[in-house]
C-alpha cells in the first residue's frame, strides 16, 4: 500500500503534485508570517503624519509616556477638543467614525500597535527620563499613517540598547542587564 503511493509519487505527475503541495505550504507559511508583521486594522485610518506636520507633540496625545508605564491611547474627548473647532470634521468621511463616537458616546476601540508580552514589565517613564526619544523605538511618525513598528520588539533589541547606554558604568550595567529589571 505505502509502496504503491511512493511509486505513484515518483511519476512525473506525482512529482508535480509534490511540488505544488510544497509551494502551497511555503506560501501559506510566508503569508502567515507576513501578516503578523502588519499594522493592525484600526477603527479610523488615523494619519499620524498630518498631526505631526501640524506640530503636535507625541506627548500631547500620549501623555502617560512621561509619567508612568503606559503611554496611553487618547479618548475621543481629546480628539474632539481640537476637531470640533475644525470645519473639515463635518464633511470628511475619514472623520465620520469620530463624530459618530462622540455623538453616541461609545469609545473608539484603538488597537495598540507597539506591544510587549505580559511577562515584560515595561515602563515608558524611565526610558524618557534616560533621554530616549519616542522615534528611537517607534520610528518616524511624520512618515506613517497608522503607527507601524519599525522593528520587532524582542529582547535582544532591548538588551543591545541597555548595554550600550550603560557604557563603562558597571553599576548601571548590572541594573540594566538584571533579569529582574523587566521580568517579574
Amino acid at each position: 500500500m505505502i509502496k504503491s503511493i511512493f511509486d505513484w509519487l515518483k511519476q512525473p505527475l506525482g512529482l508535480i503534485a509534490v511540488g505544488i503541495t510544497v509551494l502551497t505550504l511555503f506560501s501559506v507559511a510566508a503569508y502567515g508570517i507576513y501578516t503578523t508583521q502588519q499594522a493592525p486594522e484600526q477603527p479610523i485610518q488615523f494619519p499620524h503624519q498630518t498631526h505631526v506636520a501640524f506640530g503636535i507633540q507625541c506627548l500631547y496625545c500620549h501623555p502617560g509616556a512621561s509619567k508612568g508605564p503606559a503611554a496611553g491611547l487618547p479618548s475621543q474627548a481629546k480628539c474632539w477638543a481640537c476637531h470640533n473647532q475644525i470645519a473639515k470634521t463635518e464633511t470628511s468621511a475619514l472623520l465620520a467614525p469620530l463624530k459618530e463616537a462622540v455623538l453616541s458616546g461609545t469609545p473608539i476601540q484603538w488597537v495598540p500597535v507597539a506591544q510587549v508580552p505580559d511577562f515584560v514589565q515595561f515602563n515608558h517613564r524611565a526610558h524618557i527620563a534616560a533621554g530616549k526619544n519616542c522615534e528611537d523605538c517607534h520610528g518616524d511618525m511624520s512618515k506613517v499613517t497608522i503607527a507601524q513598528n519599525p522593528q520587532v520588539f524582542n529582547m535582544g533589541w532591548c538588551l543591545n540598547c541597555h548595554v550600550e547606554s550603560a557604557g563603562e558604568d558597571h553599576e548601571k550595567l548590572v541594573k540594566l542587564s538584571d533579569c529582574g529589571t523587566c521580568h517579574y
Binding site: 508605564p69 514589565q121 548590572v174 538584571d178 533579569c179 529582574g180 521580568h183 517579574y184
Partner: protein
C-alpha cells in the same frame, strides 16, 4: 565598553558572610495566625485559585503560608507560635544552581532570588531543592471566573501552566518605589513602601526594608538578640529574621 560577559555570576560562596539588600523581620510572638498576609499576597501577585481537587493533591499555590507545629507528648501538647514562611531570598540559594534553564537566578542589582517565568521550562528541580519548600508550580491554567480577572495586578505577570513561582519580596513594589524616587530626584526612604504581606498584617508582625542600611527599621529590629534565621546551618544565608519567645 563593558560587555555582558564581564558580569560575574554570584560570587557569594556557601556559608560566607553576606549582607543582602532587602530583608524582612517577622515577629512570631505577635503573629496571630490570621492569614491576612496570605490573602494580601495572593491578591497582589495574581496567584491562581487552585481549587479543592488539586489542592488535595498537594498542588495548592501560596507564596506565603502560616506554619504551625506542635511540641511535647500527648496530653501535654503545646502549639508553637505561628510561623509565616515565604521565600527567604537566600544569599546563597540552593534553588539557583540546579536550574538547567537559568530561570531562577540571583539578581545582582536587588540581591533577590528571581524567578524568570518566560525562561522557566518547568523541571521543578528548584522546588525539590528548596529547604523551605516555598515554591509552587502551576500544574494547570486554573480558571479565573468573572469578575475576578478585573482585580489582576497589572504590574505582575499572570503565570501560565508549567512554570514555577514564589515570593518575590514584591519586586514590583520595589521597582515602583525606586521609579517614583528617581522621578523626584531622591533616594528611596525607609518605610516609604512595604510588601503586600507586611502592609496587610494587622499585628505589624512583618517588617520589610533595607538590611544593608544600619539605620533602617528592619536592621534595627534584626539587632535584637533573639532573632533566628531558619535553617541557617545549611549555609543558605537567608534574608528573613524570625523572633520567637522574646
Amino acid at each position: 565598553m563593558a560587555t555582558l560577559s564581564d558580569l560575574k555570576i554570584s560570587e557569594v560562596k556557601l556559608g560566607e558572610e553576606h549582607t543582602g539588600k532587602w530583608g524582612m523581620v517577622i515577629d512570631q510572638d505577635i503573629c496571630t495566625g490570621c492569614q491576612a498576609c496570605v490573602a494580601a499576597c495572593a491578591m497582589e501577585n495574581n496567584l491562581s485559585f487552585v481549587g479543592e481537587e488539586d489542592s488535595g493533591y498537594g498542588r495548592s499555590m501560596h507564596w506565603i503560608r502560616i506554619e504551625r507545629f506542635w511540641e511535647g507528648e500527648y496530653p501535654e501538647v503545646k502549639m508553637t507560635p505561628n510561623q509565616p514562611m515565604m521565600c527567604q531570598q537566600c544569599g546563597s540559594a540552593t534553588c539557583e544552581p540546579v536550574c538547567p534553564a537559568f530561570a531562577t537566578v540571583h539578581s545582582q542589582a536587588e540581591q533577590l532570588n528571581l524567578q524568570v517565568y518566560n525562561r522557566c521550562v518547568g523541571t521543578r528541580y528548584c522546588a525539590n531543592n528548596c529547604p523551605y519548600q516555598v515554591r509552587s508550580f502551576n500544574w494547570r491554567d486554573y480558571e479565573r471566573p468573572e469578575p475576578l480577572p478585573n482585580q489582576l495586578n497589572p504590574d505582575v505577570t499572570v503565570r501560565r501552566r508549567g512554570v514555577m513561582e514564589k515570593c518575590t519580596f514584591c519586586i514590583q513594589r520595589i521597582h515602583k518605589a525606586q521609579d517614583k524616587a528617581k522621578s523626584e530626584g531622591r533616594e528611596v526612604v525607609d518605610g516609604e513602601f512595604t510588601t503586600a504581606c507586611a502592609q496587610a498584617c494587622p499585628a505589624n508582625a512583618i517588617t520589610f526594608g533595607r538590611v544593608d542600611d544600619p539605620e533602617s527599621m528592619v536592621s534595627q529590629l534584626a539587632k535584637r538578640s533573639h532573632g533566628v534565621k531558619h535553617l541557617e546551618e545549611l549555609g543558605t544565608l537567608p534574608n528573613v529574621t524570625y523572633f520567637k519567645g522574646g
